[in-house]
């Protein structure tokens, strides 16, 4: 049975739950990355936020539509993460959610629009451009890869796999860049050689979405927790 051409609300909920698992599995690694350049709490911050998101999903019948699910994730990240993480990661899901308004399912063009809105939103909010050694260095390439795949008429699963690869490559490329934003910029040249933790979180988020899209049916769980 072929992977589906669309994402349903059940797929989006599965994505959120798998992201929570992936952040639990990668918490130490993300905090270590962040400790080199910041105050080392990025991993715990994402875990705390996703635990709060899951608690909300479990506490009441989950919102039935994609836009509301994404908004729930975004608003929770906003109020729980703290620091710069809340507004920046919250923006990803809030902007994606706006694109999904009124839609009961999303095709590749829709996913590309969501990722594009997320990328533009994060750049507008944080002021970072590609090359600044931030989460944008994973998010922008992923959005571009999706736009290309959509234009080429590829299937959803392949497109998201390409986006995931682009995000990971982008995150790894941040190692060579000097930091210009956030606390890390005070380290100047000493920030080279360390990858940006936020970029890795973005790569993780997109990788998990690619896993969901690759499943033959909506909502099935996977044993691969997406460790990088």
């Amino acid at each position: 049975m072929a992977a589906p051409a669309i994402l349903t609300p059940a797929d989006i909920e599965a994505w959120i739950r798998l992201m929570a698992q992936a952040f639990e599995a990668n918490m130490e690694r993300l905090s270590q990355l962040d400790a080199a350049l910041g105050d080392g709490d990025h991993g715990t911050s994402m875990v705390r936020s996703f635990r709060a998101i899951i608690a909300k999903l479990d506490a009441a019948p989950p919102p039935p539509d994609i836009a509301s699910l994404l908004r729930l994730a975004g608003m929770t990240l906003l109020s729980v993460s703290g620091g710069a993480t809340g507004p920046l990661f919250g923006t990803i899901f809030l902007e994606a959610g706006k694109q999904a308004q009124g839609k009961s399912q999303i095709d590749l063009a829709g996913v590309a629009a969501m990722m594009n809105a997320a990328s533009a939103g994060v750049m507008a909010r944080g002021g970072a451009q590609p090359g600044d050694k931030t989460m944008v260095d994973a998010l922008a390439p992923a959005a571009e890869a999706l736009a290309r795949a959509s234009a080429e008429g590829l299937d959803l699963a392949t497109a998201l796999a390409q986006a995931s690869a682009a995000a990971l490559a982008g995150a790894q490329a941040t190692a060579a860049m000097p930091a210009t934003k956030g606390r890390a910029r005070y380290l100047g040249e000493r920030s080279r050689g360390h990858e940006d933790a936020g970029a890795h979180s973005v790569a993780l988020i997109i990788d998990v979405l690619a896993q969901v899209a690759a499943q033959p049916q909506a909502g099935s769980t996977t044993t691969n927790k997406g460790e990088h």
Binding site: M75, L78, S79, G82, A84, G86, P87, G90, G182
Partner: protein, 348 residues
């Protein structure tokens, strides 16, 4: 939350740090509980939030002034809600910006249909979070404006004030914003006067020792027993000059010119002067520094209208103090002379 913390290790760290706290992760919530028990008669705490609002708000037709930032700098900002001062305060976790849902709720709580001013210190995390809260409030039709305080001359060049950090000038700027709003000025006028107060304020500090964070028990920076650092930031950000400890008079002579040349303050100017203790520096030391500053300013032909000395904007138990000068003209003087009454600051 289970799995994220090591309670035994935390208790050990907390004991080394020697503070009177309970759960280090609950300090912000508990300090607000205690503050409300002391000073909450005229305040309302928004449900489930560390947001305090004056009773009787919103007031129809009246500009609302919201201040806030990370906790850990008490009495900043929590102590500055009061008469001719702020109307609401938004408290983040220790040294962390308050999340957008808090400033969004505060904007609604003080919105009398005449506009809301967000007034806070210039730090990237604060800007990100307050900007988002402002956007959310604007989407609901509230006219939210923002004025950032960026008085610290050590953290950026004079021609790029937007790179500078906000510090103890908050006391004067909040007072002027609050008095302007209370006098019935419209939002454009409140913004103009607040920006003017901000633009005429300059500060510089000297740090003698670090502080420890409740959640980690760790010092925020390293400094030698016989050293001091001029221009160090409120969170331990690097300053402009680290030297061995000097006398009070020598330190004042080092620091004052850095302020005077920055505005620049000139012969014939009238200023308000504020000495702010970072937390563990004694009043004795601050009075002695004040003696030096008054003498040096007299030599420069700059007259001091009012002097304020105390712990207005602290950083836990950090040692050191800062100097703030606010250049006055007639309209700023009238506002900063308005009687003020709030837990951190009462003047007649």
């Amino acid at each position: 939350m289970p799995g994220l913390r090591n309670p035994t290790k935390e208790r050990d760290e907390a004991m080394k740090m020697k503070k009177l706290i309970n759960d280090p992760f609950a300090v912000s919530d508990e300090l607000v509980d205690g503050f409300m028990a002391a000073y909450g008669a005229d305040l309302i705490r928004l449900e489930g939030m560390n947001v305090l609002v004056k009773k009787g708000f919103p007031r129809l037709g009246r500009v609302g002034v919201v201040v806030g930032g990370g906790s850990g700098h008490e009495p900043l900002f929590i102590g500055y809600v009061g008469h001719n001062m702020a109307d609401a305060v938004v408290e983040g976790q220790i040294f962390a910006a308050p999340s957008p849902d808090l400033s969004y709720a505060a904007a609604h709580a003080v919105n009398g249909g005449a506009g809301v001013l967000f007034l806070y210190n210039n730090y990237a995390g604060d800007r990100l979070n307050f900007d988002m809260g402002a956007e959310m409030a604007k989407a609901d039709g509230i006219d939210v404006r923002t004025v950032l305080v960026w008085d610290d001359v050590a953290s950026g060049p004079p021609d790029q004030p937007q790179l500078r950090r906000g510090t103890a000038a908050d006391v004067f700027v909040i007072h002027i914003a609050g008095a302007a709003a209370e006098s019935g000025a419209g939002i454009d006028e409140v913004v103009r006067l607040t920006e003017k107060a901000r633009d005429n304020s300059r500060s510089i500090g000297v740090a003698l020792s670090s502080c420890t964070l409740p959640a980690t028990g760790k010092a925020t920076f390293e400094i030698g027993d016989d050293e001091m650092e001029v221009g160090m930031g409120l969170h331990g950000e690097a300053g402009v000059q680290r030297t061995t400890l000097r006398s009070a008079d020598e330190t004042a002579r080092m620091m004052l010119p850095l302020l005077l040349k920055d505005l620049p303050f000139k012969r014939g100017d009238t200023v308000n002067l504020l000495i702010n203790g970072y937390g563990s520096t004694t009043l004795m030391e601050m009075y002695i520094m004040n003696r030096a500053y008054h003498r040096l300013l007299a030599e420069e032909g700059i007259s001091v209208h009012r002097t304020e000395i105390g712990n207005f904007c602290t950083t836990q138990e950090m040692a050191g103090c800062s100097l703030t000068l606010l250049r006055l003209d007639d309209e700023l003087m009238k506002l900063v002379d308005a009687p003020a009454s709030c837990p951190a600051y009462t003047r007649f």
